[in-house]
């Protein structure tokens, strides 16, 4: 992608814009990471505190049917009488799902990273994403939000008569997106497992 953009840009005579963009973006990256650091500290801290207080176990119970279906292997290992154990990957996954569902994107990121870290601890492959990690990643990229606050704000600013009249359409489409993504992930993981079987 990098080289293609470079080639197209030079071809169209936008060389100067390219170098300006590179400088601007590398600057933005560091600033972004510093901003993220603050948010991540906050939410990682809150999460740890919530874990100690047993709150995450309660939320885990609500999402248990969904997580059991999506992450069968993890569930077998970690579910303890219907709720995820403290410090388990499922606990982090559940909190990440709740954050995404409620539209708290900034909270979801550190929670998602914690979930990945915990899944990595249980996975033998050091540099390759496990099937469950892929499933989790897909759920994050196609997350269904109950209330799209950014969209509502933008539509209102643009003068929409009823900014939220698209809400049912949004729900239907985002569920379709999630369904298609999950279906593809499921099929592709089956395909890759069959390929591995043949190789062995």
């Amino acid at each position: 992608m990098l080289f293609l953009s470079l080639a197209v840009g030079i071809f169209f005579g936008r060389g100067e814009m390219l170098t300006a963009s590179l400088l601007e973006q590398s600057d933005a990256a560091v600033r972004s990471a510093i901003e993220m650091a603050g948010v991540m500290c906050l939410w990682s801290g809150l999460m740890k505190a919530a874990e100690e207080a047993g709150l995450s176990a309660a939320v885990g119970r609500i999402f248990a049917p969904l997580t059991r279906w999506l992450f069968p292997n993890l569930s077998k290992r970690e579910l303890n009488g219907g709720q995820p154990q403290k410090g388990s990957a499922l606990e982090a996954i559940t909190l990440n799902f709740s954050a995404n569902f409620l539209g708290l994107g900034n909270a979801a990121t550190p929670l998602g990273i914690t979930a990945m870290e915990r899944m990595a601890a249980a996975s033998p492959e050091r540099h390759s994403a496990s099937d469950e990690m892929v499933m989790f990643l897909v759920c994050n990229t196609a997350a269904v939000q109950i209330f799209p606050s950014t969209l509502a704000a933008v539509r209102q600013a643009a003068g929409a008569a009823h900014p939220l009249d698209v809400l049912p359409a949004v729900w239907i489409s985002s569920v379709a997106t999630l369904g298609a993504a999950l279906g593809t992930a499921f099929l592709m993981s089956k395909m890759s497992r069959r390929k591995e079987g043949k190789v062995r």
Binding site: A29, M40, C41, G45, V134, L151, A181, S192
Partner: protein
């Protein structure tokens, strides 16, 4: 309180680990936008989009959605400004904006934080979702308001 501090410290370390990933990512996205490659892609895909019932005004947004969150927000604003929020294009763009999220950011960041270099079928699956979402948005809007 000590649990909070412990967690916060972990959060800080993770954020620091993300700087190289973010640098590469944002630079690549910036290059894509500055190079005009996106406009080229839109021109190429326009006839196909028209066949599938996707308004061509929303194509840049649809293409940008998995690549950049701020970029797609900017494009959404543009479409709403140019065609009005209650037009077919405006509503389609609004629904498209909410389907799927910045796959090219989420996947590398989540994987980069734990040093995973091979995300296997995560990206194709996410993009398949985005495609389904794009087509579904266009059709739903047509059904409700067409």
């Amino acid at each position: 309180m000590s649990a909070f501090l412990e967690g916060a410290w972990e959060g800080l370390l993770t954020a620091a680990k993300l700087i190289p990933v973010l640098a590469a990512l944002l630079c690549a996205v910036g290059l894509l936008r500055a190079s005009g490659a996106l406009e080229l892609l839109v021109k190429v895909l326009a006839p196909g989009a028209r066949l599938m019932g996707i308004p061509t005004e929303t194509l840049p947004l649809a293409l940008m959605r998995p690549i950049s969150g701020s970029g797609s927000l900017a494009m959404l604003r543009e479409v709403l400004e140019m065609y009005g929020p209650d037009s077919l294009a405006g509503r389609t763009a609004s629904v498209m904006y909410c389907c799927g999220d910045t796959a090219f950011y989420i996947i590398p960041v989540y994987c980069g934080a734990i040093q995973i270099s091979n995300s296997r079928h995560a990206l194709p699956a996410a993009l398949a979702g985005c495609l389904a979402g794009t087509v579904c948005s266009a059709w739903i809007v047509r059904i409700f308001w067409g």
